[in-house]
Symmetry: C2
C-alpha cells in the first residue's frame, strides 16, 4: 500500500508533499490483456479530479476502443453539462487526427504517427491536459517512426503537473528509463488458446 | 489479436458464434498495479454495451476507489437520464453492504465478506447483472472467510450471459482453474521504491 514509510527517502531536495504530487510517466507493457484497459481505468480517477483528459490512439482501428471512447466521451459530456469531473478529448490516428487536415491520408502511417507526436509535444509544452493516454505508442517508436530519445527528453522536461500513460508491447528502454511506474501485464490464460475468439463488451 | 484462426478448435459442440459469445470469468492478479483499474476499464466497455454493471468491493476503504466509483456512478446517471449505456451499482464492504441492515457492524469482516458473496450468488442465480467486478475478492478467500470451491462451482454453473472479473493478489488455484482469462500484473518499477508516496488521481 502506498501509505506509510517508503523504503528510502531520496536526497532530491523535495518535501514529502512535493514528491508525492510529482506527476508520473506510467508504462503498461507485456503480452497480457489489460494494458489499455488499466490506462482507461486510471483515466476515471483523473476525470474525477477534474483534470483534462487527452487520449491519443496510435494504432488500433476505431472498433477496438469504441467502448472506452463512448464511455469517456459520455463523462466529458457530464463535465460540460454539470461541471463534475474533467473534460475529455479523444484523438485517433488512421482516420486522421482530429486537429489535422490530413484526414483520409491513411497510406502514410509513419507521417501520421509523427504528426500525432508533434501535437502531443505542443500540448505538453502548453500544459493542455492533466492526464494523457498515449495508447499503443510503443509501436510507432518500435517501427522507427518516432525517436525514442526525443520522446524521453520531452517527457522528462515537461512542465507543470501532467501525468502521461503509455501502453503497448516492447517499450524502448528509453521509455522504461524515463518512466516512474512500469507494470508488465503477463498472459497466464486466455480464451483464445482454447478456441474462443474476441467478443463485444470484453475486447472492445 | 483475437481475430483470425484460433490455435485449436475445441470439440465442445458449440458454433464459433456461440463460443465467441460465451461469458467469461476473468482474473487479474499479481504484485503490480492495474488489477482493479483494468477491471474498471473493462467496465467501460460493458457499460457501452448497455449491460448492467455490479461492482462489489471486498477490502479497500472508500478512499481508494473514490475516482472510479464517482466516474462509474456518473455513467450510471447518464444511463438513467439518457438511456445511453447501462445501469451501474456500486457496493462496498466495511461500511455495510448497501442491501444489508448490518451497516455499522464493521467489526465482523468475515461475516460481512460472506454476506457479500451470498448476495452475489443470489444475483448470479437471478441474472441481475451482465458484468460483475468482484474487487479484491481473492483476499477473503485467502483468509478462509469464503470457500474457494463453492465460488468455483457457483461461477462455473452460473446461468445466462454474465461476465465476472475478480481482482487481487494470490488467487486460490480453484479460481485460476475456473477462469477463462487470467492476467498477472507484474511490478517492474514503482515510484514508491524511489521514495514517492501515493497521490490523488493516480492511486485513488
Amino acid at each position: 500500500m502506498p501509505q506509510g514509510q517508503t523504503p528510502s527517502t531520496p536526497d532530491d531536495g523535495l518535501t514529502t508533499r512535493q514528491r508525492r504530487n510529482r506527476p508520473l510517466v506510467v508504462v503498461h507493457h507485456g503480452a497480457g490483456k489489460g494494458k489499455s484497459t488499466a490506462a482507461f481505468g486510471l483515466a476515471l480517477r483523473a476525470w474525477n479530479q477534474g483534470w483534462s483528459i487527452g487520449v491519443f490512439q496510435f494504432v488500433k482501428s476505431a472498433k477496438w476502443r469504441i467502448g472506452e471512447q463512448a464511455a469517456l466521451e459520455a463523462l466529458g459530456e457530464v463535465h460540460t453539462s454539470t461541471g463534475q469531473g474533467g473534460p475529455v478529448e479523444w484523438h485517433k490516428m488512421g482516420s486522421g487526427w482530429s486537429w489535422s487536415r490530413r484526414a483520409g491520408s491513411e497510406e502514410d502511417h509513419a507521417a501520421d504517427a509523427l504528426e500525432g507526436w508533434r501535437e502531443i509535444q505542443r500540448r505538453l509544452a502548453a500544459e493542455t491536459h492533466g492526464f494523457y493516454v498515449l495508447d499503443e505508442f510503443t509501436y510507432p517508436i518500435k517501427w522507427g517512426w518516432i525517436d525514442p530519445h526525443e520522446v524521453a527528453e520531452t517527457l522528462s522536461s515537461r512542465p507543470g503537473h501532467q501525468h502521461v500513460v503509455i501502453t503497448g508491447r516492447d517499450p524502448h528502454p528509453a521509455l522504461i528509463e524515463v518512466a516512474d511506474l512500469v507494470t508488465e501485464m503477463t498472459k497466464v490464460k486466455h480464451p483464445f488458446d482454447s478456441g474462443q475468439k474476441g467478443q463485444r463488451g470484453i475486447e472492445w
